[in-house]
Structure formats: C-alpha cells, structure tokens
Amino acid sequence: MNFDFSDDQKFLKSEARKFLEANSPTSRVRKVLDDDAKAYDEALWKAVAAQGWLGAAIPEEHGGLGLGYLELCVIAEELGRAVAPIPFASTVYFLAEAIMLAGDDKQKAEILPKIAAGELIGAIATSEGPGALTPNSLQAAVSGGKLTGTKLPVTDGDIADLCLVLAKEGGKAGLFLVDLTGPGVTREMLKTLDPTRDAARLTFKDAPAQRLGAAGEGFALVEQVFDRAAVLLGFEQCGGADKCLEMAKAYALERYAFGRQIASYQAIKHKLADIYVKNELARSNAYYGAWALNTNAPELPVAASATRIAASEAFWFASKENIQTHGGIGYTWEMDCHLYYKRSRQLSLVAGAPRVWKERLVSHLERRNAA
C-alpha cells in the first residue's frame, strides 16, 4: 500500500506553501478584495508562471514541466490555502485540461505553450442563467463558425484571452474556443459573492468560434473537463478547509471568556473535532481522486464526484464554523474569516453545485451496479 504523495511531491508542496506565504499573504489578497476595478493579482500571476506551476501537468513537448497531476494537486492545495486571487483554475484546470483532452495537434501546439508561459488566461462559459444548464435550456448557438448568445457568470471572463464556450450547432451541443480579444465579444464585470475572484457576463454577437472535439459532444466533453477540474478544485477546498481549522484553533486558544480559554469548552472542542473529521474525509476522497486523475482510471467520474461532494462540504463547514468560533470579530471585514467563507462558495459553485454532483454520483453508481 502506497496511498500517499511521494517525498518529492511533499517537498514541492512545502516549497509552494513558502512561496505563497511570501507572495500571496492575505494582505495582498485584500488588494483585490478592496479594489473593485482589480480583477486579479497580476504580479502573483506572473510569479506563479515563473515557478512553472501553470504547466506542471502540461507535457514538455508543449512547453510544460510534464510533471503530472499529483504535483498539480499539491500546488492546488496550497493555492486554496492561500485564497490566491489568480485565474489559475480557469486557465489550468479548465482550459488546459480541455485542450489536452480534446484538442487537435494544432490547437495543442498553439495554446498549451502559451498557457505554460503565463501568456494566456483561460475561462469556461457554460451557465446562462439561474439553475442548472440542460441540453434543452441551452441558448447560445454557433452557425457558420460564428457564436451568438450570452453567458453568465463566467469566472475570469473579463480578463481571459481564450474561452471555452458550450453552445449548440445544428441543434447539437458542442464545446467551442472563442478568442475574447477578438470581434463580436462584449464583457461586463459582475458583482459576485467572492470579490477576490472576478466574473463577467459575456455577450457574443457573431464572434468567431472554433470547435473543440467532436460535434454534438459538448455536454459529454464538459463533464469530462469538470471531472478533472473537480479533483483539482477539491484540493483547493481541502487547503482552504485546513486553513480554517488552523485559524479557528489558534483563535480558540488565544481567546478567553468566563475566565477560561474558549478552546477548553466542549462546545468549541467538539465543533473543531467535527471540522477535523470532515476535513479528513475530504482529504481521503481527494487522494483517491488524485490517484484516479493521475492514472486516468475508469473510476475517475465516481472518484471526482466523491471528491467534489466531500471537499465542498468540508470547506463550507470549516469556513462557516471558523467565523462562529471567532464570534463577533469573525464577522468583521478586517478579519480574514470571510475570505474563506466567500471562496468556499465560489469553489463549490464554479463547476456545478454539490447537489448536481450528488445526482451524478448516484447515477454513476446505478450504472455501475447495472453493469
């Protein structure tokens, strides 16, 4: 049994933590939080690119480090822990993964090296309105290589260069690549729950669109991309959840009430134990997701669903109970608790809400049992 990260991967993780503690302390995250016009931390983005992280899982022939997904997972965990305000997920988990999954040789050769070098920011646009998107409700359409329609919210849509867009063509859904710096694209920044991660409304009017993968396979391809992203987002969530537990513990030990440390009350001890239990369940599921992603195992859809459900629950629970443990001070803008509470919402919703994933998981289990 060797169900753990290697020493090299653990070293990378500790180096990533040091790097982000130096380059993305919450005082820096707050520059994005407090400035409505600032969509992301450009300096951090450049520094992360210089570390090679954007291309960690991109093959060397396409300008990446060609390490693997386990390395990307440990980086993701540290980014989540640091609530890093950069378009890493949009660019790496969604765009790069979609290109590697479904791109032709030309698309790979053109796009992947730019991602690895930090020269290209990505995004994915599926949602068009409240509620889950279905093949019947999909409105955006491509005709003659031109896309028309509206997508919102698109995380990083206001800063991305290249966007994956789910749209129908000849009545069938496909996934398309659209140059957001090109003609026919209007972007508006949206107000969102998590101001450290921006989102936009994208309006397309005859914007040139290039299909990625086979015609009619749009939803299937998005599912595959989401499965891969779910594992990586799950590590970000684990990182954030662990940080919340540490914050809650530190505060409970330092805060006195009724003549005692509040950490000595069972109401607080058991709350923190509950956070720990959920965090460990999430971490163990995420490890399995990492294994499935790294080996491209047939179990990936089930493992990714379990990772997403467990990690979403853990980060949500840890972030809300961290505020509760802090009491009144935890509800202030100046304390960092809300950065994690808000990021937990962003991460839980960006690739579909947990209840959508629960339904997917049970559907997979039903098919597996029937087979």
């Binding site: 950490a263 134990a273 163990s284």
Partner: protein, 410 residues
C-alpha cells in the same frame, strides 16, 4: 501513489494466502453463531491453535512472547487474506490485544511463562474488567474495592461490580481495576490485578441489550480472594497500568459496520416511493445515498492512508481516529432512513414478512450501542480535540479531591 503491495508485502501475502488455502476451513460447518456463545467456541479454539502453530496468531508479537516478530502491515495483510475464508469468530482479540500485553508488561516472569502461550494458542480466554455502573467514560471512577485480607496473609479481597464486560461468560481469566485507597484522589488510589474467572466469588450475568441480544455481561465480585502475586504494577499505580491496556484498545480499529449504501440502494430499487415511482428515484434519498457513499469511501481511503504509514514502518497519523464517530452515526441514520422508506411497513421485523430488511433493523437497534461502546461519540470528539488538535483538557473538578469525598449524585 498506488494501492500495490511492496515486493516484501507481496511475498508475505503469497505465503499467507497459500497457507490459508491449505489450512483454513472450507465451509462454516454448521454455521457459526455470533461468536458469543459456546456453539462456535470449539471451532474458534481449533483455528486459533492452528494459526499459533504456524506463526499467524499474533503476528506482531516478538519471539520471546511466542509470536513470529512480524510487522503491523503483515498482520493487516494476513487479516485481509483470512477474511476471504469462512473462518470461525475470534473471541481472543480482547485478551490478546489488551489483557495479555498488560500482563506481559507488569507481571513477574513465572506468570508470563504460565499464561502467555496458552492465551496465544486459544486455550485460555481473557476479559477486561474496567467499566462499572458508576464509571463508563470515567474509568478512573471505579468503586470495586480491593482490601487486604484481615488474616494477615497479604492476600486481597475484591468486592464490587463490573459491567459491559465482553466475553466474561466464556473467559478463564480477567484483568480488573480496583479501588485500593479511597482517601487518595481518584487516579491515585487504583490497583490492577489478574483474576481467575472460575472463582466461586465471581458471578457473571448477561446484560439484556435494547437490541434483544446479550453480547455483554455484568460481573459481580464478592470477597474474591486474590494473592498479592496477582497484582499487576504497584499498589495505587493501577491507572498507569490501565493506560497501557487502553492504548492497545485504540489500535484495534474496526471496519465498516451495519448495512451500507449499496444495500440501501438495492432496497430502494424495489420499494414504492413517492408518486408510485421506485424509491430510488426520490431525490432526497439520492442525496443521502451520495453522502453515505462519500463518507464510506472517505473512511476506506483514510484506512488506506493508515496502512500506507504501517507499510512504511511509520506510526499512523491521527486521521485513523475518525472512524467510529463517522461509521456509528451513519449506521444509525442509514438504518432509520431505510425504515422510514418502508413507510408504515417499516415497523415489521418479522423475518417471514420482511426478510430483506433485517440488516436495516439491526443497524437501527445496534447503532445506539456502537455510538457508546469503546468510547462514546463525545469522548472520541474530546480525544480528537485534545490529542489531535492539541486543545486543552476539560476542567477536572475531581483531580485533587479524595475519592471518597467526590460528589456522586446520590
């Protein structure tokens, strides 16, 4: 990252597998009962003796204790392979896992020589007599007293009551924690002894559990005379001795218990739910199935992380402490959800009318016990908070008070 054996582990597994193929029972002859009664005892003892002779009884025990001096991961591998065979129940684990190691740590050489190997071969069974009516979670509150016999022989007389003693009805020996100094604070007036369970002053009565079963006992001591040579550790040092016993308990981690998500799914396919559709189409139930699956997988892979540490010869991390808190609560919720899914029919436990639902009823009625046994949910959360997270211990108002002066509520 993978789930593979190392080359050494694979070799050990192959050897163990071959030995089991040649030696394990081919069928559960006559069916085994729940492991508590005498029905399967002869088979259990025969199987234990065969394992002991081949070095598979207590694999991590050193050679001087009669074991092969193997590693924890070898024990896990053997358990995995043994689990594929219809072997009889194992009534020896409390004795070999907790009592005998305590004897090995504190008894004199003659006692060790006398007891260790017969226990290993399954010839003699041991039980652990700690919990009392007045002290479950608070083990150090034991009131069973041991006093020096008035005849000046140096013997001790033990009187009192123990409770929730697993296997007392078929045990030959036990280790018992007693109060020897009620004037001292509670942790400082305890002494541990080993006793012969066949003593006429010891009476074992089965406890009738709320589930209807009787897996545990009350044990009454009435002036049980014990020579001083049966003392384990120093007089009034019994708390430290009991910590050695309990430390061994925490290593005995269990697997999943009760009916699981897959059984629930199977039942839900065949039961009418809302609007006449099968219950499996009910979105509320589907979300619960997903949650149970995720928690079950989470525990499974947490065990895999623990095994990885064992495989590397490291001490497992604290994550192994979450198992029972999660599984006992889930067992209760799953059993109850299944019963509610059956609607009015859910109250029927008659095996002829509800043959497929017995596992859910068993979970529903067994879970309250599992949430208490071997550390209540609350104690386990305290353990996580204190030993894993490093939070302060609860304030102890009984620490520096003579035991006899502690309030008892009655």
């Amino acid at each position: 990252m993978d789930f593979n054996d190392s080359p050494e582990e694979a070799a050990y597994r192959a050897t163990a597998r071959a030995w089991l193929e040649a030696n394990a029972p081919k069928t559960a002859e006559g069916g085994y009962d729940d492991g508590e009664g005498a029905g399967s005892m002869a088979a259990s003892k025969a199987w234990q003796a065969r394992k002991a002779a081949a070095g598979y009884a207590q694999i991590t025990w050193p050679k001087e204790w009669g074991g092969p001096g193997g590693t924890p991961i070898q024990q896990v591998i053997f358990n995995q392979e043994e689990g594929r065979h219809p072997v009889p129940p194992n009534p020896f684990q409390i004795g070999l896992g907790m009592c005998v190691p305590t004897v090995m740590t504190f008894a004199d050489e003659a006692t060790k020589q006398r007891f260790v190997e017969p226990a290993l071969r399954g010839e003699e069974i041991w039980c652990q007599l700690f919990s009392e009516p007045s002290g479950g979670s608070d083990v150090a509150a034991a009131r069973t007293k041991a006093e020096k016999a008035p005849d000046g022989s140096g013997d001790w007389l033990i009187s009192g009551q123990k409770v929730w003693t697993t296997g007392a009805q078929f045990s030959d020996f036990g280790i018992v924690v007693t109060r020897t100094d009620p004037e001292a604070p509670k942790h400082k007036g305890l002494t541990m002894f080993w006793v012969d369970m066949h003593d006429p002053g010891i009476e074992v009565r089965p406890i009738h559990q709320m589930s209807g079963g009787s897996g545990f006992n009350e044990v009454f001591f009435t002036n049980v005379r014990v020579p001083d040579s049966q003392r384990l550790g120093a007089v009034n040092d019994g708390w430290r001795v009991s910590l050695v016993t309990l430390m061994n308990e925490r290593l005995a981690v269990g697997g999943p218990s009760g009916a699981g998500w897959a059984q629930f799914m199977e039942a839900a396919r065949n039961i009418t739910g809302l609007d006449g559709a099968p219950a499996i189409k009910d979105q509320a139930l589907r979300e619960k199935i997903a949650d149970w699956y995720v928690a079950t997988e989470g525990l499974k892979h947490t065990r895999n992380r623990t095994l990885t540490a064992l495989s590397r010869g490291e001490t497992p991390g604290p994550e192994s402490s979450i198992g029972k808190v999660v599984s006992a609560m889930q067992m209760q919720e799953l059993g109850n959800t299944a019963v509610e899914m059956l609607d009015q029919y859910g109250i029927i436990t008659d095996p002829e009318l509800a043959p497929l639902h017995a596992a859910f009823h068993a979970s529903l009625l067994g879970a309250p016990g599992l949430r208490i046994a071997g550390g209540t949910d609350e104690i386990l959360k305290n353990i996580i908070a204190e030993r894993v997270l490093g939070l302060p211990q609860d304030i102890r108002v009984d620490k520096d008070v003579a035991f006899k002066d502690l309030p008892t509520g009655r």
